[in-house]
Structures are given as structure tokens and as C-alpha cells.
Subunit: 313 residues, 3 copies
């Protein structure tokens, strides 16, 4: 069976089959374990535009490095200097990039549903000049599929069997597209998810998770603890830092003995996690996530842009 | 005959012979029709600085992709962060780039005549450290030679014989360097040009064109209709939009049956051209222009930067 | 003897042995004199982040071209858009870059000692995820080692024997990291250094130089005259331009007959040096410095990033 036919755009985790997710993770680990010189430049001659409406060094560089390692050419689309800032509609922007010769747009935006809406413009009779892949690099507060994929790769590296694992997610679930994409993905692999957060970070619309009253309950039997970033620069007003630190900060003491600690980064030191824990051996998984990000994105890019799109699964 | 000797800088259309223009267009179409893998990296080891004082995603990416496809290295000269913003004169800036090792500067500026003046500083005894090509990517309101060249490539693709074709140019001719470079170029190939515009967009100093009172007259026997972009962000005050739309908007109805529709982009939907027309089959030429832009610029770059500068014509 | 073991970061001139400095300069000249096509891509597969907190076209492009010529991938870390601007500490930023897969950070900053402090965080138990080289591209008012190295290369090209040469440094020594790194480096090779500056540009803490009362005394027997840039945009208030020009401007008349003229650029024409002198034959050394910058940096990057770090010296 070949999934090639439908793999054109990475919209969100929902747009991927469970088999495709597994294939991406396996390929990511395969790439990671290759010799450095052995990596094939499977995207040589491809051209990708990075369209980042939101700043992000980490995700940006991770995609840029993934593209470089695959031999593609990378272009920085400066959103503030583009025709978009003069009112051009996004479909026209993408379509002009297709016409110029681009094979992919890597898109990061705060605008919920932008990618899907752009693709669906084709139903209104508008046509892309040629095939161009739209790849979600973080959208609104609901979708960050490549972050979930790299977290999945990291978990697969640490645990042989995912089915029945217990995951505790701590912190700002409401504003976190990382949390939401992870919940959607990890549920499919039989991971049980508990959430714990102060009231202002709760989001009751999130399904398939158990909300806990406090960290103690959330951490019972936890194999994985996932802290989330507090986006201080955006939501400073609603956070009671003293209270947050007292009730939700992860420390060397409260982190379950056998659990691994994850965080999408950048960490606010001594808020979500103590410096002591971060700088200890147990803090290293967070850097491994960043490390796996490049390999996960290489696997995604191969799948969506490679000559043989999709995998036999 | 070899034109190599004098091809050092692309200043404007005037600086090119008719044979050189033809050679560029033929080479652009040759490159376009090559197999993807067959394209030679004829500029490997060359270094080009993109010096854009004016924003432009389309022209910027088109040049960047052309350079990438030819194997050159591309550098983004951030004009706002450079020594220029500290008052360094432009000759010194270019000369330092030459000293560092650059082979070309791709320049976009609102400053009329900047490129020519910089080159002419050599007459005052100042010397470039080594050969460096200055390539005009849009200058002031009078010159945008590579846009005219890509439009020429697009017209050549559509029509076997250019001599005697009728072109109607609609809209903001006054502020349009695209129009002016096109008029200069296309006149040389025997294309008859009519212009139509509201009074605030007329420019009586433009020669070798026939000014028409209304679209009807301009569109008589037209083979090509070229709409121009209204630079809304710059000249908002002087435009009467309702009037413009009523008298100058191009629609499925008023576009002559056998004419092709061109526009340098980005189009202001439902101002210069209706959305219905843009999204129809007849709107596709505009994207083909964007597509040809890369090939035209590859041909230009080869001619000005390739080891064998110029062509035998 | 192999110096490989300790060559991890380029902190300042002090962090280099005299043998290592000589090895870099010799390698730079070797690279410069290679055939263009013969240059080995010794850093293919390496990834370097350019972290420039201070603007600089010249140093930026010089490093970028050096990396390109060596086959490395270059990434522009936009400091204003990064997590740093959200308060992430610099060690964490560097460590995340290491985790993503970077091999080097090229750093330019006004913050005195930032690079050394970051490296020394490792003594506090924090660990880099993997080896990553920090390369100083200008720091505070005290260190700009690659500028001193490229000046050294330029001097070596001009003079067979450095021991006993006389160097006069003119101008803003106080704020100049170029001057300070040069003094540190050139003293080691037996060059005698005289300094001359108005009171507001003097820095009595600078050692191993002779302060002169006026240019006449400083220029006695000078083999090299090094002018420094007045950073007009930063220190406008304290400069008395008329006085400066009268007493410290270098002209065709006062430049000793056999001396070469150096300046780190960009030159303020008709302030530090007259236009007439700059545009004469004798002004060309300044462009040769820019030219040597790429080769000096290639040698530095090879030494710090090449598979065989360090040289047998």
C-alpha cells in the first residue's frame, strides 16, 4: 500500500495516518543513526520558502538545517517586507511562489486555520500554478505537528513499548499548540495522558485527557512529564508567578524517579523547571528533543517533497 | 562578433544592444526547456550581494533562485544595518564588496541613476578593487530592465512574430519603471504601443507610444494587454478608486478575445483586474511571467557573470 | 607538537599562542594564493550560526564568504527575534544550537567578556550538549581577534621581517577593539607601537605602546600608519571635528613616504583620511585588508572547525 497519493500538505496531526506518523518517526531515527557523510541529498534542486509570521529561532533553524542537510535551497520570506504586508491575499502569495519555482512553503503563523483555508481555496476554482507543499511549522494555538512528531521520536527512543505509558502534561495547556498536537498524536499510540494546570491555563475543550487537581495526582505512575513554556511575553498579566512556582514548578524532588522530563523550549529557568534539574543529567532530554527536531523534520520533508512522495506502509 | 567586451553592468535597457536582448531571451527559453537535472552550475564559486533598498519578495526570490540554480552564493545586504546607513558613500560600499571578493551586486533602489553614477565614479579616478558587476533590479521610476526582459521572454513564448503586434498598457504609467523599460525594449522589436491612463497616471514625456482617450480605443486590435500595479501604499491620495475601476479595470468582458493579459504583480484584486478574470485561464499568463522571471535572470546572470562574458551574436 | 587539544574557542588574541597566530597567517596566505577551483571544501557538512548583536556588513559578509568557500552552511541568527530577546540566557541559547546540530557560533557583541563567561559556565556544572566552537567576531571595546589576524596577514604580505618595524596608531584608541587586539598581537612579533590621539580618545591603560604628543613624533620612522574609525554614530558629542581634522587627519603630505596606510574600515572620508589619499595608490592597502579578511577567517575556521583541529606547530 502506498500513501503517496494524498500526502501533499502537512496541515496538522489529523491530516496524517497513524502509519504515516510511524513511518516518519522510523525514518527520523534511521537518519539520526546514519554516518554523517552517508546522508543522501534527496532534496537537491528543491526550493523551500520559510514564511514565519511568528519569531522562532529554534524551529526556524531546525527546518533550515533539515533542508540544508537534504540539499534543498532555503529562502527567508520576510513577512513584514512582503506584498502580504501590502494586502496581497495569502493564496496569491503562495501561488506566486509556486510560479517562481518553489516546491514548499514552511509556514508559522498565529492565524488559526490559515494553511487549511489556503489549500481549500482550490475548491473555489483557484488553482496552484504547480504542485507546492504547505508545511505547518506552528499555527495558532492548536497545531504544531512537527513538534509533536519530534516529541514522538524522542519518546520512541526512550521506551520500547508506548502502549500504556503514562504522560503528565504540566502548565499552559490552553495556549499551547505543542500540547494539543502531542495529545492528538500520542493518544493514537495508547499513551494515557493526565493534565494539570492552574485555572487560567486550563482548556476544558481538550479531549482524551484526564484533568488532575494537583501535581501529585498527575505524577502518579508517570513515565513522562512534559512541561510547557509559559509565554511570558504574551500573557504576563494573567500569571501569578509565585503561586505557579509553588504548585506547578518541576523540581529534582517532585519529578518521579523513573520519569523522563520533556519541554518544548525555550525553558523559563526557575519557573517551569528549576535550574538545578535542568542542569542535571535528567535535564538533558530537553536538548535531545531539540536534537531530534532536525531528524524528524528531515523525515517529514522527505515524505512531502521527495521524488517518491509518501512511503509504502 | 563577440559582445563580451562591453558587458560589465546591467544599467538599463538602453545599455543592451538589440542582439544582446534577443540572446538573453533565447537563452532563457533554452534554460526553461532543459531537464531539471541538466542545468549547468555555470556560476559555481561566484558570490553575489543582494542590495535591496526597496522591499520586493518576488524580484528578490527570483534573483536568489536564479543564482542558486546557477550555483552562485547569495548574500543579503541589509541596507538598514549597513555602513550606508552610517553615511558611507555607495561607491565605497561596492568597492569594499569587491575587495571582500564579491562578483556582483544586485541593486534595487528608489534613487534615480544610482547605478550609472556609481559606475561613472571611475571616471573621477576612483577604481574598483576588482571587476564587479552591478545589476539593476529596479531603479527609481524609470528602469527595471530584468522585468522588461522577462516580459519579452513571455511575449516571445506566445507569439511567433513580434513585428507589428499591438500592445495596450493600462494604468499607472507615470510611476512605473516596468512600463518604461518595456516600452523601450518592445519598441525595438516593432511592437506598437498604446497607453491609456487617468490624468494622474499619465506621463507625457514617455515617447514612442500613442496615448488613447479610453480603453476601447486602446484595446482595438490589441494582441497584448499589460496592466500595471497601483502602488496603493505610496500614492493613495491621488487615486480615485471608484473612477479607476469604472474606467480602467480589466474584466472578462472588456479584454479583447485574442489578447493575452500581463501584469508585473502583485495584482490588487478587483482594482486593476477582476478576480474572476485573474482566476480564469486567461489570468494564468501573469503567473507565467513570474515563472519566466527566474529563467530570464539566469540568462542575464550568465551573460554578466559567466566566465565567457557576453555571447557571440 | 600538536596544539589541537586546546583550540576550542576563539576568545581573544591572548587565547592564541604565537605559533598558532603564525600558522593562521601562513595558511591564510596559502589559501589566497591557491587557484580558485583548487580550494578544498574542508568544512562541508558543518553548520555555523552568525550571532551578531551589533551590525556589521563587512565582518558579517567576510565570515559568511569564508564559510561558503569552505563548504559550510551559514545561518543568520536574528538576535532581535530570538529567545534571547525574551530573556533566555546566552548559555542556553548556545547549548540549544549545539543540540540542534550547530558546530560553531560566530559572535559579535558589545558585551565585554560574554564569550569567555559563556565558556566558563561549564565550570559551574553546565555542559554543552556537544562540541561547539565560539568564535569572537568583535566583542566590547577590547577584542576583535580576527581583525587583528587579518591585519597581521596584510603586514606579513608587505614586509619580510616584522621584528623592529615601527607602527603608528592614530585616533580613537579608547573605543577601538581593533587597536587593542592589534597591539596585543603585533607586540608579540617585535613591532614597536606608537600611539597618538586627542585626549578624549586616549586610553592610558593600554600597555606596551609609546604615547606621542603629536603626529609628527608618532610618524618618525613609521613603516605602518594605522588609522582608526571614528564611530560618529555613537560618540558624536565628544569629538571636535575641526580640531581632529587639523591635528590627526592623515593626508598625502603627512603620511611618511615609505609607510603603508591601514584602516579597518569603513573610513569616514575626509575625517580620518583625505579622499585624495584614499583614492590614490597608497589608499589601496585598506581594500587589501578587506580582501585578506576572508582568507584570514578561512584559516581561523579551518583551525577551529576542521576535522583535524589545530596544527602541528
Amino acid at each position: 500500500m502506498c500513501a503517496a497519493a494524498k500526502l501533499e500538505h502537512l496541515i496538522d496531526i489529523k491530516s496524517l495516518s497513524t502509519e504515516e506518523i510511524s513511518a516518519i518517526a522510523e525514518r527520523a531515527l534511521e537518519i539520526k543513526n546514519m554516518d554523517r557523510g552517508a546522508k543522501p541529498l534527496s532534496l537537491a534542486g528543491k526550493h523551500a520558502a520559510m514564511i514565519f509570521f511568528e519569531n522562532s529561532t529554534r524551529t526556524y533553524f531546525s527546518f533550515e538545517m533539515a533542508l540544508n542537510k537534504l540539499g534543498a535551497s532555503v529562502y527567508n520570506f520576510e513577512t513584514s517586507k512582503s506584498s502580504l504586508s501590502k494586502g496581497e491575499d495569502f493564496f496569491d502569495t503562495v501561488n506566486n511562489l509556486a510560479a517562481i519555482g518553489f516546491d514548499a512553503c514552511i509556514i508559522r503563523t498565529s492565524e488559526e486555520g490559515l494553511i487549511k483555508r489556503t489549500i481549500e481555496e482550490q475548491k473555489n476554482g483557484r488553482k496552484f500554478f504547480k504542485k507546492i507543499a504547505l508545511i505547518n511549522a506552528g499555527e495558532g494555538t492548536s497545531a504544531h505537528p512537527t513538534q509533536a512528531l519530534l516529541d514522538f521520536v524522542t519518546i520512541k527512543e526512550k521506551f520500547k513499548n508506548l502502549n500504556g505509558l503514562n504522560l503528565a502534561i504540566v502548565g499552559d495547556i490552553r495556549h499551547s499548540r505543542v500540547a494539543k498536537s502531542n495529545i492528538e498524536l500520542l493518544n493514537r499510540f495508547g499513551i494515557k495522558i493526565k493534565c494539570v494546570a492552574p485555572s487560567y491555563f486550563k482548556d476544558e475543550s481538550v479531549k482524551n485527557v484526564e484533568w488532575c487537581e494537583n501535581m501529585e495526582k498527575a505524577f502518579e505512575n508517570a513515565d513522562i512529564v512534559m512541561a510547557l513554556r509559559i509565554q511570558k511575553e504574551r500573557i504576563q498579566d494573567i500569571i501569578e508567578f509565585e503561586d505557579y512556582i509553588k504548585n506547578y514548578q518541576i523540581t529534582e524532588e517532585n519529578l518521579p524517579k523513573n520519569a523522563i522530563l520533556m519541554h518544548p523550549g525555550p525553558v523559563n529557568r526557575d519557573i517551569e523547571v528549576t535550574s538545578a534539574l535542568l542542569d542535571s543529567k535528567r535535564g538533558k532530554t530537553i536538548l535531545e528533543q531539540a536534537n531530534n527536531g532536525v531528524f524528524a523534520r528531515m523525515a517529514v520533508l522527505e515524505m512531502f517533497l521527495g521524488e517518491n512522495r509518501g512511503y509504502n506502509v
